[in-house]
Structure formats: C-alpha cells, structure tokens
C-alpha cells in the first residue's frame, strides 16, 4: 500500500576517505606538537592567553604537518598541510561562537534573581541594584509583537509558497525572486518605512507598528522555507485528490497543506527566530516602555531594546541588565530552534 508521508531521506554520499586508527594517532601527535609550540611561543613572546596560544598552534600545525609528511612526496605533504589549515581555520571560527555563548551565560546569569522574569522596570532605574526590577515587560512586549507579526506573515508567506509551487502562476519566478530580494532589506529600512507610514499617519509609536515592521523581515524566511517543504509533497497526492472530484483549492487546503503541517510549523518557527531579536526596526516603531503593557496602540517594551537601551547607559548595573536580557533572548532563540529541529527531524523520520 502507499499512503503519503513526506519523505526527505537523502542517501548518504559515499566517502572514500575514512578515518583509520593510524590517522587518529597521526592527528594526535600533530596537535600535541603544535600545542607545545604554541605554548613555547606564548611564553617566549608577547602573545598571551588562550588566543595567543591558539595563534601559535595555528601557525605551527601546517608546518609540523609539512615536516612530518614531506619525505613521502609533495602530493601527500600538500594534502596534510591543507587538512591542517582547514581544520585550524574552522576551529578558529568556533572560538567567537563559544565565547559568545559562554560570556552571555556567565554575565547574564549575574542579572538573575528570583523575580527577574516576573518584574518590570516601572519603579526601578536601570542603574539600581540588580535585586530590583526585571524583564517581564520586555518579554511580554516581544511575545506580543512577534505573535501579531506571525499572524500576518505566516499565512502570507505560506500563500506565497503555494503560489510558486501549487498554482505555478505566471509570476512564480518573479515572486520567488522578490521574496529573495526582500530578505535582503536592511532591518533599519523596514523600520524607517513603517515609521514613514504607520507611525506618522497614526500618530505615534505603537506595538502595532513594531509588529508590522517585523512582518516585512519575517515574510521572506517563512515563504522560502514553506516553498522548500511544499516541493517535497508528491505530485500523485494532488492527482488522486483531483480524480476524486476535489478542486484545486480544496486539494491545497485539505490535502497538501495538512500533509506538511509540521513542516509549515517549522517555517513559522524559523521566521520567528529570525525576527525575535530584531532591534533596529523597533527603535523606530515600537520605541520603549518600562512597565508591563498589553496595549497595542502605545509604545511597548521588547527584549532587544531592553538590552540596547540598558547598554547605552554605561552604568555597571545597567550593563549587567543588558547581559541578563541577552541571556533571556538567547534562551528564547535556543528554544525556538530546538522546537524547529525536533519537528523537522520527526518529519524526516516519517
């Protein structure tokens, strides 16, 4: 029997090069020697700390790899040197990543106290001691704006994908192209646009305006991801639906979209992750507020602006608050990512 599940099982490409035990030993010796060299460089010259040590290691490793293999000929030596350079360069790339995660965690956790997630800054100046105030207002504001933005951007994004994949209309190529172009609109420009229209016409900063700016930034991500997912729905499923008398609209809404529902959730989550930390457009649209507020027509707080404005004050407690906000924001992004990952692996496994 054949029922339809979406399958994304990609056959694993063949890899003729496998890691043998000999390779591991060789790499071990290589790294150890280079590490010692890095340490030597560290103690003999002005380079200091982990970075200094790493710079030493990074320069030593290709040299050690070359010296160790050149007796086997030029070809092998160049291969070993290339492996060393590529690995060292990639490892260097991960240093800032680790540093960001670690710093945000270490500095951010200092801002936490028992009521950090439930209090606002209504009666607390940013420079006040850490035990007062919290980020609840910013969390509420971010959630509200992101929710409104999703309610608009997710359907629009999915429909744009439906247009490209299901309707295959005359403008399909144009729409795909425009969506890609739209993903490159700088976030501050989206903010300026909403300021020039919504904020100016309706007389002031508001949660509404913030949400609309986020729509512009969210739409391309949702459309693009939905398109990729729609493409993996087998054509036979549509044909079968037509042959039972279902119209194209019914086929799309009742058969195709429900089949990939979890994939569309992934698209929405990735779109949310894209905009949840947007700062620049909110400066120009939602502005800032210090208390919990759910009014759509008033300025509203948000996590990114909470971080940004706390940082601008230069006060030590305010800076700690900025790190605390960063930790919360990074946590939100993490959770969103974990959700998207879980759903899409479940989708792939089916």
């Amino acid at each position: 029997m054949t029922t339809f599940e979406v399958s994304t099982v990609v056959p694993e490409p063949r890899r003729p090069w496998d890691h043998s035990r000999g390779t591991l030993l060789r790499v071990g010796v290589l790294v150890t020697l280079s590490g010692i060299f890095g340490w030597l460089l560290n103690t003999l010259t002005g380079l200091s700390g982990f970075l200094g040590w790493y710079v030493g290691l990074a320069f030593a490793m290709p040299v050690v790899a070359f010296v160790g293999s050149v007796r086997h000929g030029w070809n092998l030596a160049s291969d070993r040197v290339a492996s060393a350079v590529i690995t060292v360069a990639f490892a260097a790339v991960t240093i800032p990543w680790v540093s960001i995660f670690v710093t945000v965690y270490q500095k951010g956790s200092k801002a936490f106290h028992s009521k950090y997630l439930t209090d606002d800054m209504r009666i607390t100046p940013s420079s006040d001691v850490i035990q007062n105030g919290g980020v609840a207002h910013a969390i509420i504001g971010t959630l509200m704006m992101v929710l409104i933005a999703s309610l608009i951007a997710v359907p629009l994004g999915i429909l744009a994908a439906v247009y490209i994949v299901e309707i295959k209309g005359r403008f399909a190529k144009l729409v795909r192209f425009l969506t890609q172009a739209m993903s490159g609109v700088p976030s501050i420009v989206a903010g300026l646009f909403i300021y020039a229209t919504v904020v100016v016409f309706f007389g002031g900063f508001s949660a509404w305006a913030g949400a609309l700016a986020l729509v512009i930034l969210m739409l391309p991500t949702v459309a693009r991801t939905s398109e990729e997912i729609l493409k993996i729905v087998p054509e036979d499923l549509r044909t079968a639906s037509y042959a039972l008398g279902a119209t194209q609209s019914r086929t799309t809404f009742r058969v195709v979209l429900p089949t990939i529902a979890s994939g569309l959730v992934t698209a929405a989550v990735l779109g949310i992750a894209r905009v949840v930390g947007e700062t620049a457009p909110l400066i120009l649209t939602a502005s800032y507020f210090v208390a919990k507020s759910t009014s759509l027509n008033e300025p509203i707080a948000s996590l990114p602006i909470y971080i940004f404005s706390s940082l601008g004050l230069g006060d030590e407690n305010a800076t700690t608050r900025a790190w605390g906000g960063s930790l919360v924001l990074l946590g939100v992004v993490f959770i969103l990512f974990a959700i998207a990952r879980t759903i899409s692996t479940r989708l792939a496994r089916k």
Binding site: R14, S99, S326
Partner: protein, 323 residues
C-alpha cells in the same frame, strides 16, 4: 483498434477552472504579490518623505561628508551629506568580507569533507543556530569582549605597520574603529556565507571527486581540482549576500563604531559609521528636516543593498541551476 507507429505531439489543452478555483487562484496570487507591493511602497514612501532633501542637495547628499542642521528655524542653513557614512558602510563591509570569506571556505570544506558524519550533522545545526543569534547580542559581545582585544591588536599593528597608510592614525587611540566593526561583522556574516558555500560544495560532482581519488589523488587534490572550481560562482554569490547583510547592519555597528562625520580609510582610527547606524543614531533627537534626510539616507541604503542582493541572488540561482 490499431497501434500507431508515430506518436504525435500531445495537443494543447486549455484549462478551465471552477469559480471556486478562480477565486482561490486570484486570492493566492494577490497575496503572493504582497512582497512586490511592499518593496515598491518602501521605495515610494522613502522617496516621498526624503524628496525635499534630494531636491535641496542633489548629488552632494551622497558625496558630502557633513551633518550640520545649522539653524533649526532655517533649513537653508543646513548642510547634510552621507558621503562619510557610505564610505564607512563600504569599508566595514569589505573588511568583513575579506576576513569572512577565507574562513567560510575553510569551514564549508571542513564540514562537508573533513568532519566525521555525526559531527557534520551537529555542525550544520550549530551553523543555523549561530546565524540566528540576534545582532544586538553580537553587538554587546563586540562592545564588551572584542573591543579590548582589537584595541590591543590595533596597537601592535600600528607599532609595526603604521608606514602603510591603511594602518596609520593621527592619534594612537584605537577604540571603536572600522577594524573592530568589520571584524564583528565578519563573525556575524560567516554563517550565511558558509551555508551557501557548503551547499554549492555539496553539489560538486561526487563521481569526479571519487575519480580523482581513485587515480591516486589526495583529498586535497580532489578539492582543489573539482570542488573549488565548481563552487566558485556560488561562493561569489554567497559572499555578496554577506556583503548585503554587512552593509545593512545597524545595531552591531552602532555599538562598535564611533560615529564621526569624516571620510575615514584608516581602519584603526576610532572614527567612522555606516548609513544604518547613522539613522539609528540621529533618529531620537532629529528635527523634521533632519528626519527627511534620514529617510533619504534610508532610500540610498535600500537601493544599494537591493542592488547587491539582486546580483547575489542572480549569481547564487545561476550556480544552483548549473547543477
């Protein structure tokens, strides 16, 4: 019944949709064209709001490097131009690209060809996650962690290389310099450039690589002769996508680059700015006339990034099509 020898071309069939489907198709089409409407509206509104500036200053708005509102009561005394900011946008974005691209190539090759399978799946996820780190977090990290490091490095660079104009400064203060902003941007755009590079490298003809390997070539020989030439145009597109991102970045640059209205090519000097950070910086206390200038600046930024992204998209799409 008879079997024909020469099958003819299938006849053209016109499709007639039911009324429900016509409504459905019309509705979806109009929603899909929303992005077109938005792009046009952005350009139109920024032009409308900033038109007075273009009328008053003409081309000098993008060549002058001065931001002086003069007498707030009298707009004719104002001299406004974003020349320095445009230069700053380009300088920081170019530093970002020059640093990010080699590392992105190495990372893409590492993930695609060197990492063990398990590590490869993990790294792909991590790459996506890093790409989603909000720019304000990059900004605060750049300001607090990277700034002292780069200040230190700048001192060393200045000490040994100040004979080279790029590394010279008037006064040896290295704080929030284009180098710092550029390095931070390079860290921010690395995930997207790496993703694109990884995608095109992954599509390199596996049988050619295998063939190179089977003929006694090393892994590096296969990469050098097959993978890198194959992925060249895709990489250029990816780099341009990164360039577009870097030029449009606001908050991270705002936090790590001193806003000074001076055309500055000395990347160690604590002066510069880009168009996006100018808008964020001046927006809060802007006069009406200044706001119009910010709209005009926004339009210039919009058009420049649109152009960069246009070419990037064309190049990336073309390299996808070849596959």
């Amino acid at each position: 019944m008879q079997t024909l020898d020469t099958p003819t071309e299938p006849r053209e069939i016109e499709t007639h949709y039911t009324r429900v489907d016509r409504v459905f198709r019309g509705f979806v089409t109009s929603c899909a064209l929303f992005s077109l409407v938005v792009l046009i509206l952005i350009a139109a509104f920024l032009l409308y709001r900033g038109f007075e500036i273009f009328a008053d200053f003409g081309l000098s708005f993008i060549t002058t490097s001065k931001w002086d509102i003069g007498n707030p009561e009298d707009t004719s005394t104002a001299v406004l131009g974003i020349g320095a900011m445009l230069v700053g946008s380009v300088v920081t974005a170019v530093i970002a690209i020059l640093v990010a691209v080699p590392f992105a190539i190495a990372s893409a090759l590492f993930i695609e060809f060197y990492a063990p399978r398990l590590l490869r799946t993990i790294l792909t996820s991590v790459l996506d996650l890093v790409a989603a780190i909000p720019s304000v977090i990059f900004g605060i990290w750049g300001y607090v962690v990277l700034l002292p490091l780069v200040e230190d490095w700048s001192g060393t660079l200045y000490k040994y290389l100040s004979w080279f104009p790029l590394f010279d400064v008037q006064t040896p203060i290295f704080g929030r310099s284009p180098l710092l902003a550029g390095l931070l941007l390079s860290i921010m755009i690395l995930p997207i450039v790496t993703s694109v590079a990884r995608e095109v490298y992954g599509q390199a003809p596996r049988d050619l690589i295998d063939a190179s390997y089977a003929l006694g070539g090393t892994k590096w020989a296969g990469i050098r002769t097959v993978v890198l030439p194959f992925g060249k145009s895709g990489l250029v597109g990816g780099a341009m996508l990164g360039l577009g991102r870097a030029m449009g970045e606001t908050v991270a640059v705002y936090l790590t680059l001193n806003l000074v209205f001076k055309t500055n090519f000395q990347i160690l000097a604590s002066a510069g700015g880009n168009v996006a950070s100018l808008i964020a910086n001046k927006f809060g206390e802007a006069t009406d006339y200044e706001l119009k200038a910010l709209m005009a600046a926004g339009l210039v930024l919009f058009l420049v990034t649109l152009l960069v992204n246009f070419f990037a998209t064309v190049i990336v799409n073309r390299s996808r099509k070849i596959v």
